[in-house]
């Protein structure tokens, strides 16, 4: 089913499996919800009274108004089923469409949660927990799968490039900067990542995203990749001198991904020596 040139990564295979599962759940759940949807919420609210003698949650309505909105709910399920089907058939091409499902599940989780706090209907709590779980699982699987065989997604690549520009700016005794060698360096970095296991690649991606937002915690108003190059360099030096070893390790790790590829050119030593001479 995969239409792209390279085989799917393990993360992409997991995400595709989840999309097939979701498609069947939505597709076969659709007629169920159309027929039994009205009874479902009422049943959920009556459930506590069936097993204990505690007072039941408030009764759920079953009138025409419920049917009116139920139709819209079922139509949303049809959309989600189609979204999942498209993604499952070609993860790399249609993967970003998952944002539609994530948006729907985030909104439903927040609304269910809010109404449960306001009204105390148990059906709302069940809805918030179910949709919240689907949202989280889908988001995590998508995050892990999204770069595919590129290992870093567009945003992470931008942050890595920003680190490279900060560490190795243009000018000076070695005139060439990271931005001039960026394409070659990024290919090398991806090759480095390709040799690692999935957990290590994931850690690198999380590291890049953390570094990008770290300036907010230190009083800056911009993310790392939006800082001016000298400010980025100064910030990076602060990371290297940080007493928290995890922060220092992040700086060291990112430096390796930038500096090692930059100098890993054929006859690298001689070339660098010539330039410095």
């Amino acid at each position: 089913m995969n239409k792209t040139k390279y085989p799917l990564t393990p993360a992409e295979r997991r995400f595709r499996w989840w999309m097939w599962f979701s498609f069947f759940m939505y597709a076969f759940g659709l007629p169920f919800f159309l027929i039994f949807g009205r009874q479902l919420a009422a049943g959920l609210n009556r459930f506590p009274a069936m097993i204990v003698h505690n007072p039941p949650w408030p009764p759920a309505g079953m009138g025409m108004e419920v049917i009116f909105w139920q139709v819209l709910g079922v139509s949303l399920m049809a959309i989600l089923a189609l979204v999942c089907l498209f993604i499952a058939r070609d993860v790399r091409r249609f993967g970003p469409v998952i944002l539609a499902l994530l948006a729907a599940k985030l909104v439903s989780t927040l609304c269910y949660g809010g109404f449960y706090i306001a009204d105390g209907n148990g059906a709302y709590l069940v809805g918030a927990l179910t949709d919240g779980f689907i949202f989280l699982l889908t988001a995590v699987l998508w995050f892990m799968a999204s770069p595919g065989d590129r290992y870093l997604d567009r945003h992470e690549t931008r942050v890595l490039t920003a680190v490279g520009e900060a560490l190795l700016p243009q000018g000076g005794t070695l005139p060439k900067g990271y931005d001039e060698a960026q394409e070659r360096c990024l290919i090398e970095t991806r090759r480095m990542l390709a040799a690692q296991i999935e957990q290590d690649v994931l850690m690198t991606r999380i590291m890049l995203r953390l570094v990008d937002v770290l300036p907010f915690f230190l009083g800056f108003s911009r993310r790392f990749h939006n800082l001016a190059v000298p400010a980025r360099a100064a910030f990076f030096e602060r990371m290297e001198a940080c007493r928290i070893s995890l922060v220092r390790i992040m700086a060291t790790g990112l430096k390796l991904y930038v500096v090692a590829p930059f100098f890993n050119v054929p006859e690298g030593e001689e070339r660098a020596a010539d330039e410095s001479a």
Partner: protein, 482 residues
Amino acid sequence: MTGVRYSAKVIIVGTGAGGAAAAAVLARAGVDTLILEQGRYYQPSDHGDILTGMRQMYLHGGMTLALGNPPILIPQGCAVGGTTIINSSTCFRPPRSKVDHWEGPSWDALEPCLREIETRLHVAPAEESLLGGNYRVLKRGCDALGIPIRPLQHNLDGCKGSGRCAFGCPTGAKQSTDRTFIPDALAAGARLCTEHTVVGVLRKGRQVAGLEGISPSGPFEAYADVIILSMGALSTPAFLLRHRLAPWSGRAGRGLRIHPACRVAAEFDEAVDGHIGLPQGAYIDHWADKGVILEGISMPPGPLLSALPGAGARFKELAAHWRQLATFGIMISDTSAGRVFRGIGESPFTATYQMNQADAEAMRFGMVRLGELYFAAGAKTLYTNALPYPVIHSVDELRKFEACPIKPGGLELMAFHPTGTCAMGADKKTGVVNAGLQYHDISNLYIMDGSVIPCALGVNPQITIMALAMHGAAQLAATLTN
């Protein structure tokens, strides 16, 4: 699992120092031996640039970590030759004092093995012409302060000083096991299956009947009377734990020793050119009684510069003068101990290691002594990467660094010689294997790698591992052929 089916008298998993030496002994004794190796068989002509070397020959691209504060990188080889293909080719005999104290083969039993190994691997002190700029500048400091510096012994044959020991020797001079014991074993009739990853164990009652795994051509099963695990001190205990072979004593995976190490770089006015010659040419054991050994370590510009502090124009300026940088390493005989657990997900193992305060101070002691030697040799600046003094400009600052409080988390560490996780011991209470490296709990399972060494040796362990494996394999061969 179905697929290709192999059978042999003995199966050895791994081709590093232990597995290869054992394979050569067994095959020469006429035992039908099958060697399974996860990595590929590389020839010197396959060794390209630094990053290609890391990708091809390092387990997980070199990102194997022991978790702790700080996390410690422990590079492991993953090719025919195991870690011997990426080590610095340094050879030390095990310290007699350590051998006399362990519950394993005696010195007299090991000595003939050590001699045979040294002959086969062409172990000899490095020639002065190969010691390079790192040695030259540090010797100046040593001469000024009256500290002896000596060339290390290496397993080399025709070294041209390309400085790439850690990324696969491009000239084939390094006598790693892929160039020595594995060809010996193959010549004697052993079979080698590369890119064969073992993923399961086939049981027969309390014995191990065989192994199952995957290869590029599909799944395989391999049956043998005896199984030898030689996957290294990190992977072997994790394998035992994952496949429920670990002893009830709970000793498998405990007692991890790693020889923590760090390096100090020094900037000189002159060109040092440390990347030319042997990366680990010389050593200083003047402070060995404190558990500290200084050993050469030099790297090409990429890995060298990525470990130096700084960013922006200042860092770039330092990078421009990388040929003026000298580096030397500090290795301590650790008193801390870590632990290996079964791996999570794709990872074959999870290792934890928390350095204690005494080891952190021993590391700082080594850094300060090295700093004194460098300043005596005329260094302008030292780069320690240790908090609170990652950069040191004078002897006065070095004194402040020596006097200030230091924490393990403030150091930037690597480690190279994991041992101790399946230690030798006379019985089940004190060890995982006996002196013949036979597993206490399962009579047809043997462990022949660094994990059986029950202590931190304080020196590079490849010769010791080979000698132990050779001794254990000779005993096993005698049993099998009788």
